[in-house]
Symmetry: C2
């Protein structure tokens, strides 16, 4: 059997049956498109993913980028794949037509990206970072900056990075020390060191455009003094041609457990030669600009996590269908043939848990992308506000939940393969290593929890939570009327009610006991995420219940959706009751503990 890295049938289900993404074409921004152009981009990407991305994923992992003394060596398959990606126009897929893009909905481009992530996340990271950087210039750059820097990125000639963290400042951006000193010529001189910079140096593109957070002397303290700069690897002449090297130097490569195909760097700015940076937008607004783009970046990270889990699921499913081992408990005749392991109950549990996690996570990723598309195109102010609220409250979940639970799916995929799964002969161990990163970068799991409990559920007097509850109620009411789904609707309603109670209790407690109320924000995040995922599954089940399958394969597909939904409600959703009780207890064991009691120093 051919290896599978994604499930195109599921992607189509989500796009056209769950989200009805083609309805977006009625909006002016997407009027040039129809289902045909969506299919074309998905088919092109699917072919690239299978033919040029997937084949070198294992090789990229085994031969990670290294510095040859002059530049960074990366296996040649990466450049070949990315050239084909650029030549197909995919780098510009989501960008505006006036920047040379195709102006496709984000829902569609994310679905296309999903296939690339499943096939080879290490290579797919280069365009991902580039699109993020270009997006940022598009949102806050000057017209000149857009022409000079963004356009070559949209065309795929130049790649981009995000330079936020420093060795001493990861989650705490208030403490960055990179400095930007104004010059009379108009540019700034950048000095400092940036850490964990993905795609920070390579020869895959003609130039690299770094989006750098730095402080202009005299600015406010902490985050209030942070500004955003464009810092190219090579300077750019007035006519757009490349000038001399800018003072950005590779100070080292980070050697990671996974995600090895993506070069990860320590960069020095302005250490041995002048480093020119160009202020983007207003001074001291850098962090606000970054936050502006963060929703999309975080949804993208969640999608990457999802697809690593999804690829592992499909690999373990294929193995379970082919591998014969053991017999059923009620037939131990040792001379009877062994059965495919997919017939064993525990293997089925491992597979169905994975399916519930990864297909649930993919529906959430694409739903959030769909919200972004609606946000961009909604003309009614009240509706746009509601969409904004949904996006705000769902973004930490869309980032964090797949990072946690699709990693768990990867763990299960290894288990299905047993000893073979633990070897580098099968992809599942690599996918597990790759996925461990996602709970760390783009805001750790803990940061997402604080974002959700400390900001999002409380904002505007709980308006975002109310908007989300209204959406969930719509699904609950619809499911009440459907045979087989009514009991699940009742379970979700209970869970939603409980979530509301816990939220209120914790928000009340913040007045008197601010530390205790937020101490288990991560547990709240995991609980909240499970409720959101249950809702996503109920929505999928509503579509599957209403479907009229035209073939046995289609019948099995919809049946699989219903089984996964039921399993998630029976085996996973009840966890939230336990979490809710724990959160309401305002336990302070961790806060009270004497730090010396962990272990002797």
């Amino acid at each position: 059997m051919t290896p599978q890295y994604f499930n195109r049938r599921d992607i189509d289900f989500l796009l056209y049956e769950l989200l009805n993404v083609d309805k977006l074409c009625a909006r002016p921004r997407y009027a040039a498109h129809d289902r045909g152009t969506f299919e074309a981009i998905l088919n092109t990407t699917e072919a690239l993913a299978v033919d040029l991305f997937a084949p070198h994923a294992a090789k990229s992992d085994a031969h990670e980028p290294h510095f040859n003394g002059q530049s960074v060596d990366i296996i040649p398959e990466v450049k070949t794949a990315l050239k084909a990606y650029v030549d197909a126009g995919l780098m510009g897929a989501a960008f505006d037509e006036d920047m040379g893009g195709l102006q496709l909905p984000m829902t569609v481009t994310q679905a296309a990206n999903a296939m690339l992530y499943g096939a080879n996340v290490g290579t797919a990271a280069y365009p991902l970072l580039t699109m993020g950087a270009a997006n940022l210039i598009g949102a806050v750059g000057s017209p000149e900056q857009k022409q000079k820097f963004m356009r070559p990125m949209v065309a795929g000639r130049w790649f981009g990075t995000m330079c936020l963290s420093e060795p001493q400042a990861g989650s705490s951006l208030a403490d960055i020390t990179t400095k930007a000193t104004p010059t009379e010529a108009g540019h700034y001189l950048i000095t400092g060191t940036k850490m964990w910079i993905s795609c920070g140096d390579h020869e895959l593109s003609e130039n690299i455009v770094h989006m750098v957070l730095a402080k202009i002397p005299g600015g406010g303290p902490g985050v209030k003094g942070i500004s955003l700069f464009i810092v190219p690897k090579r300077r750019v002449n007035g006519d757009g041609s490349l000038g001399p090297r800018n003072g950005v130097a590779l100070a080292g490569l980070n050697h990671k457990m996974g995600y090895r195909g993506t070069v990860n760097t320590l960069l020095n700015f302005g250490e041995s030669s002048e480093c020119h940076g160009y202020l983007v937008g207003q001074p001291h607004q850098g962090l606000a600009y970054m936050f502006h783009m963060m929703n999309e970046a975080r949804i993208g990270v969640g999608l990457g996590a999802t697809m690593l889990g999804y690829a592992g699921y499909l690999a373990s499913l294929q193995y379970a269908r082919e591998r014969r081992q053991g017999r059923h408990a009620d037939n131990k005749a040792p001379d009877s043939p062994q059965v495919p392991i997919i017939e064993h109950a525990d293997i089925r549990r491992l597979l169905l848990t994975q399916k519930a996690y990864v297909e649930g996570a993919l529906s959430l990723s694409l739903y959030c992308a769909f919200l972004v598309d609606q946000q961009r195109t909604e003309t009614d102010a009240a509706r746009r506000d509601a969409i904004n609220l949904l996006l705000e409250i769902l973004t930490p979940v869309a980032k964090a939940w797949p990072s946690e639970f699709c990693l768990e799916a990867n763990k299960h995929a290894i288990q299905v393969l047993g000893g073979y799964g633990y070897t580098r002969d099968f992809p599942v161990e690599r996918l597990y290593r790759d996925n461990r990163l996602n709970a760390i970068h783009e805001g750790t799991h803990g940061i997402q929890g604080l974002d959700l409990l400390g900001r999002k559920v409380a904002m505007n007097n709980g308006a975002a939570l109310k908007a989300l509850a209204a959406e969930m109620q719509a699904a609950i009411q619809a499911a009440r009327k459907v045979d087989g789904l009514a009991p699940l609707a009742a379970l979700l309603e209970q869970a939603l009610g409980r979530t509301g109670e816990v939220t209120i209790a914790l928000q009340m407690a913040r007045k008197d006991k601010p530390r205790a109320a937020l101490a288990y924000a991560t547990v709240y995040l995991d609980m909240f995420g499970h409720v959101v995922l249950a809702w996503m599954w109920l929505r999928q089940a509503l579509v599957a219940s209403a479907a009229k399958p035209a073939s046995p394969a289609e019948k099995a597909f919809y049946g699989g959706k219903l089984s996964a939904c039921k399993f998630f409600f029976h085996a996973e959703l009840p966890k939230t009751a336990m979490q809710a009780a724990f959160l309401k207890s305002l336990d302070t064991t961790t806060l009270d503990m004497d730090a010396a009691g962990f272990a002797p120093e």
Copy 2:
């Protein structure tokens, strides 16, 4: 700060305060020992672990064993460390004096091994496998076999392996095809292929003694036809000197995600030259013999998993104490100094969860070793039966629970270090990779679940479960009388009652619905394990409550035990209520699902 791989204070607490292991010296088998000889062996092992095992753990991982065309190359530090280990007499620590051993209690030797596992599990695996193989000969070999094969192993001159799995038969040993053909000379000719053989070929010892499961033609079907053989790498002359190479050939090395320091092999027997094997015990009893040794091997795997988690915990604790990042929520003054991250609530949650997992698991591992020591030396038949029952029912938990939850601890350790934890510059990612193996080998997680629910809790009309419940009740009754522990005692009593109910419900259901009753045996195992661990924590808390600490450090140590216990009861034990309800529902979603519904083939 010096890196730590284990916590000697905790080991001493468990040995002398929780288990009172020195009381074993009153029994004839251990009469030659006292706390002084225990301390000597622990001190010797501690020094070896720190000086010779730990320093090459990262190097072993980066430079895994490879076949040079003639033999297997392993970095020289491994041989140096193992020579020092053997020279110190540690290989024979647990063996009988008449075999050249020190006849120490298993509780003490396991505590010593724990330090080696924490320091470098890849190197420690060689003596572990050797001791297991020697034990097997000791238990069922002939006096001549003991002299000829076991004695050089106890002396550490020869190493050993266990050869059970084959490429087509992992969990299903009934389906092995390796053949043993009798000869007139008395030996058997072995032909076949064995897979996943740890320590299967190397130049670390003068000889390698493989314990091989094979079928003698004409034997019964399935597991009934399996016999056990000694198959040396080099044949052994009558006087014990080494003869020519036997027909055991290295067919390949397995390249794994972790545990890379331990060479893992595919071995061909009798392919290009004659392979002599020597029958151990009676024909067709091979599997029974293996099972006889399996309790100890499984407890050993659990201990290894525990110490990988423990080493990760200590590394992340050290990092959390040193790394400064961010400020408290109620002090955001950006010019105030950053706080050590151990002050952040979510970091504390990650640390305390790890502590509850790894210290709980270590107490269970050593408690089980203590049961083995009692079993060996108990003269009262009724008491010995009770101990046997406890060991039978606890072994799957002692193997599986640390493999699952100390891996989770490793995941948390990475999270504490953030991006740094994901790099190979810190040990936490390696420990995470290493630990992923433990849920797979020596009986998968699923196999342990079936062993527990399908056999152990039902055996002798539930006698093992009753024996365990009686032990738990003793701790519950003691804790009722202790300030602060009474509420925990009540929680454990509830959980124990619930476990009994679920067990009865599932056993009843086996009559009518055998597949449904066992379908979620793994969930049962996880639930059962949490109840066992809660009991272990309550026992530790009883000791800590009664302690009279003589210094602030000691006060913090006992306080830490109480905090970890409380946290386990508040944040972890409630999960078992959810699992119990799920199990009682006899959900059949996984069994009913059409396999085609997972995803299109």
